[in-house]
């Protein structure tokens, strides 16, 4: 098996020597023959290692499979992974490096929303294709969408819409919300409120909490929610904040006799660290890795475990699918010309690693219709799992086309 990972690699032209010696970069035109097609991948590897390690593994697995099958019409894929340390301004500099120095054909990646937006704007300015994998912000494909930016993961709006569908069936009338104090949290709460109020005009939102991301004062926050005496809670916190919130909430009985609808909590990234604290019966979006048994996904799960000696996480599927979608697009475009790639990407269909069928990158707004699983949490033994889940196809949870056209800037 050919393993082309350029990850730990020395920058070929050290800047200082470059400046000192005045070495001009020779504009090498690559021979088309069997030269690899290079992809520049930028992500916050040092800032978010828990999520991006599995992500990179998923990407590498897909790339190895594609290359083993002969690559893109004989040309292997090669990915250069770079760390932006969670800073959008660094991601733009690295994009410049990858495009100008390393001659990558396209860019991929992004975990934080602002990094995704910065890269999207870079793509527009420099007419480079950018396939965003993880960033959730709606702005990326709508209010600040552009011709050169595509996004794989179901967005904030879509995830909120999936939860609203379930939340609207509940008898609960008094809702409280808790979300991290930044764009993702605020948007999620805004959409949830708007969509649920539309579906159930009788519900009332009695209060909200916005802890600082990564610095939740969980005791005070749970107590503040308890004070509102809500029937149900909509939660957007994740990672460390979620763990601390759940532990304090459990101790203080905040979740007893209350339903909680919670974004992303069913993803193994967030569910596994909860361990025995995992609350029962939360309505969550996520990825029921261990129970999702269809031929495609089972094979992927086994291959992943064989290769990395651990089980995939949601990030692994996102990384895998991004690499797969890019490869499918490259096969169709049969060129690394940006305009040809954009044309191939619009309306592109590829089979997701979830094994739930084909996913389409909509020509309308460049959002993929990849969905998520909606289910309930349940503590089984010493770990939480998702039960009673179903696959929610992303295409069903997007706003009407006219609305999207109105949001999305024209001309690009």
């Amino acid at each position: 098996m050919e393993f082309r990972n350029s990850f730990p690699r020395l920058g070929r032209r050290g800047l200082l020597t470059g400046v000192a010696m005045g070495v001009a970069a020779p504009a090498v035109l690559r021979a088309q023959g069997n030269a690899p097609i290079r992809i520049g991948e930028i992500n916050s590897y040092t800032a978010q290692p828990a999520f991006l390690g599995p992500y990179r593994n998923g990407w590498l697995l897909a790339q190895e499979r594609i290359n083993a099958e002969g690559g893109i019409h004989g040309r292997p894929l090669e990915t250069l992974f770079r760390d932006d340390a969670g800073r959008p301004e660094d991601s733009v500099r690295i994009a410049g490096e990858l495009v100008a120095s390393e001659r990558v054909a396209l860019l991929g990646g992004g975990y934080l929303s602002n990094v995704g937006l910065a890269l999207g704007d870079y793509a527009l300015q420099n007419k480079v294709l950018y396939c965003a994998s993880e960033p959730l912000t709606d702005a990326l494909v709508w209010s600040r969408g552009n011709r050169y930016t595509f996004r794989l993961r179901p967005s904030t709006y879509m995830q909120a819409a999936m939860l609203v569908e379930e939340a609207a069936k509940l008898p609960a009338k008094r809702w409280a919300t808790i979300a991290p104090n930044y764009e993702y949290g605020q948007s999620a709460v805004r959409w949830f409120k708007a969509l649920l109020s539309h579906a159930r005009p009788d519900v009332e939102f009695v209060g909200e909490q916005f802890p600082a991301l990564g610095r939740i004062d969980a005791g005070a926050t749970s107590q503040a929610l308890e004070r509102l005496r809500p029937d149900a809670i909509f939660n957007v916190t994740f990672g460390t904040d979620l763990l601390n919130f759940v532990r304090q909430g459990n101790t203080r009985g905040l979740f007893e006799d209350r339903v909680v609808a919670s974004m992303l909590t069913g993803e193994p990234e967030y569910l596994e660290p909860l361990g025995e604290e995992c609350p029962d019966g939360w309505i969550v979006t996520g990825y029921p890795r261990d129970e999702l048994n269809n031929p495609v996904h089972t094979a992927l799960r086994d291959a992943y475990r064989a290769r990395f000696n651990e089980l995939p996480r949601c990030g692994s599927i996102v990384g895998h699918d991004t690499a797969l979608a890019i490869a499918t697009m490259l096969r169709q475009a049969n060129s690394t010309d940006t305009e040809a790639m954009v044309a191939a990407f619009e309306g592109l269909r590829y089979p997701t690693g979830y094994g739930t069928g084909e996913v389409e990158f909509r020509a309308l707004d460049h959002q993929s219709t990849l969905g998520a699983f909606v289910g309930r949490t349940k503590l089984q033994g010493r770990v939480g799992r998702m039960v009673d889940w179903r696959y929610a196809d992303g295409a069903r949870y997007l706003p009407p086309d006219e609305q999207v056209r109105e949001w999305r800037p024209r001309q690009n």
Partner: protein, 613 residues
């Protein structure tokens, strides 16, 4: 009403945990005057060590004794680590200029971050709940965690024990004596080294204990260090540096205000602590219970009286560098040009901070506020008025200067770390405005589409523009330092009394210098923004301020060549290392440590020495 009482109790529990961390920091600062950035890292190490000890054999099998034993063992181990850090690293650089030790402790932060990641992996971890204190108890009909009740008691107990240590033991009395007058204590024949090692051991053990005691309450994560260190500093400064009761009071104040603040204004979470700090410092310049330090800060090195003209070799080197920067770029690829433009902006940013720190004799932990103000001035003009780059570049220094004028009026009244922390408070307030005023600033999604005008869009043209503006900025800063204004600035730094006697208005001079530095940082910020095409709140966040601080300290505060060298070295290292490996923070930390130990006067000074020899 009952819910409010429980809310107050919750605030007390948070206050206790915050106090534990802050107490160690304030003890270390009181004696050594070291701004110990690594304190948060010791806190994190305490939590991770405790997690390993209590959730694995053999301690995990011993039940309650194993748990509490594990907590104490972890604290002890962290204390020893702290003592080791003092003996191996910090002891060697006590004679370096003030704040220089900060550089070493920051390098430790970087090293520990990667070591923890390597040893414990990236996943968040839950520790077991505390034996006997597992569940909740009913208070006013509401459930309240027993462990939080225990924590509420721990804070005052630790405060009491520390009081006993400081007032009833010989070691403590010597520590207090050293806090007041180090030289005198040394003159009386007390072994200073032992005292310092001891205080580091104590302070770090307190940090480790604080981290370990969070185990039953919070998840153990690789981001704990950064989350706690800024808060701990705020508590220490609000309480008054070196004052234990002050730290306790401040922890109480901030935690309770937070607990009740979120009931009224849920979105205040980002800024509350900094608002409190700003208000306290404006009203009480030495914190709640702090006292005005007597005499000059220890271990300051007297600067040469007047910077003469640059030595001939330096002039030659400067001219050669300038010629290379003018002539070579047409032959460089696109990416080196992008980098060069970045470096130019960072050089001006560092040089502007140098005016405050070097000739001004002040410190700023919040210099990014002005960098960001310049960037946002350009971006806001572009977004709301469609202003072209030329307008943005002209407006940036004025806007940033104005912000500097405003903040500076408060900050330059204070001295030392208090002043630096007030700049940090203002910077964080500015940051939260950029972060939360979504309608105007776009919030954390930032402002996109801030691109240069057509003529400067090419990388080469933009580089020459950056070189011209930053060169001009640095030249103006140099002129200001050598002008009578700069001499007055140096005079009030070196001898406030004599400066006042010859009619120098120290406050006014410092204020003007602060605003000038802010304006120059604004130019750097605007250029940086146009180079990236977008502006985000991160441009005025703490890491950006820390970058500036590190660049100046790494290069050396003695001459203007310091920040220039420091900026290029720091940014260049980071860029190269981050492409080399995932473990770039570890490498960067080690390189900085090596530089600190070998060139304790900064890079520029090392060059001078070599030439002079």
């Amino acid at each position: 009403m009952e819910t409010l009482a429980v809310q107050a109790l919750t605030g007390l529990a948070s206050a206790s945990s915050l106090f534990l961390v802050a107490s160690g920091l304030t003890v270390i600062f009181g004696v050594s005057r070291i701004v110990n950035f690594a304190h948060g890292s010791f806190y994190m190490l305490g939590a991770f060590l405790a997690w390993t000890l209590v959730s694995h054999a053999p301690l995990a099998e011993w039940g309650g004794w194993g748990f509490w034993g594990g907590i104490l063992l972890a604290a002890l181990a962290v204390g020893l680590l702290g003592a080791a850090a003092e003996m191996v690293i910090l002891r060697r650089i006590y004679r370096a200029p003030e704040l220089f030790q900060l550089l070493a402790t920051f390098a430790l932060v970087l090293v520990v971050q990667d070591l923890v990641l390597l040893l414990w992996g990236a996943d968040d971890k839950f520790g077991p709940r505390a034996p006997l204190l597992r569940g909740a108890t009913e208070i006013f009909g509401l459930r309240f965690p027993r462990y939080d009740l225990f924590l509420i008691a721990v804070g005052p107990v630790v405060l009491g024990l520390l009081w006993l240590l400081f007032h009833r033991t010989r070691f403590g009395i010597l520590l207090r004596a050293a806090t007041q007058d180090r030289e005198m204590v040394a003159a009386l024949g007390v072994d200073q080294q032992l005292l310092f090692t001891g205080v580091f051991c104590l302070g770090s053990a307190l940090a480790g204990l604080g981290g370990a005691l969070q185990l039953p309450r919070e998840a153990v994560t690789i981001h704990m260090d950064m989350a706690i260190i800024v808060q701990a500093f705020v508590v220490v400064v609000v309480g008054g540096l070196g004052s234990l009761p002050g730290a306790f009071l401040a922890a109480l104040l901030i935690s309770e205000l937070h607990a009740f603040g979120i009931l009224v204004l849920p979105r205040i979470t980002l800024v509350l602590a900094f608002l409190v700090m700003a208000i306290v410092l404006v009203l009480r310049p030495y914190g709640l219970l702090g006292r005005k330090p007597e005499g000059p800060p220890p271990a300051t090195e007297a600067a040469a009286p007047l910077p003469g003209p640059a030595p001939r070799w330096l002039q030659g080197a400067g001219m050669a560098a300038l010629a290379a920067l003018l002539l070579l770029p047409p032959f460089l690829g696109e990416y080196p040009l992008i980098l060069l433009a970045d470096f130019a902006a960072l050089v001006l940013f560092a040089a502007s901070l140098h005016l405050i720190m070097g000739p001004g004799g002040m410190a700023s932990f919040g210099h990014a506020a002005y960098f960001g103000a310049g960037a946002y001035a350009a971006a806001l003009l572009a977004r709301h008025l469609g202003a072209p780059m030329e307008v943005g570049l002209v407006a940036a220094p004025f806007f940033a200067g104005l912000v500097g004028f405003l903040f500076g009026w408060f900050c330059v009244r204070l001295s030392g770390v208090y002043s630096a922390m007030l700049t940090l408070a203002f910077a964080q307030i500015a940051w939260s405005v950029a972060f939360q005023w979504v309608e105007v600033t776009g919030g954390d999604n930032g402002i996109l589409g801030v691109w240069p005008s057509e003529w400067a869009r090419g990388r080469l043209a933009f580089w020459y523009l950056s070189l011209a503006l930053c060169g001009l900025g640095v030249w103006m800063l140099r002129r200001a330092i050598h002008a009578p204004f700069g001499m007055a600035l140096r005079a009030q730094r070196d001898s406030p009394l004599r400066a006042e006697a010859i009619g120098i208005d120290a406050f006014r001079i410092r204020w003007l210098a602060f605003a000038l530095a802010a304006a120059m940082a604004g130019v750097a910020g605007a250029l940086f923004a146009y180079g990236k095409g977008s502006v985000f709140p991160s441009s005025l966040d703490i890491p950006r301020s820390v970058d500036a601080l590190l660049m100046v300290l790494l290069g050396g505060v003695h001459s203007l060549s310091g920040p220039i060298l420091g900026a290029v070295a720091y940014a260049g290292l980071q860029e190269q290392l981050s492409r080399l490996t995932d473990l770039w923070r570890l490498l960067l930390g080690l390189v900085i440590l090596a530089l600190v130990l070998f060139f304790p006067g900064g890079l520029a000074r090392a060059f001078y020495r070599r030439r002079g020899a």
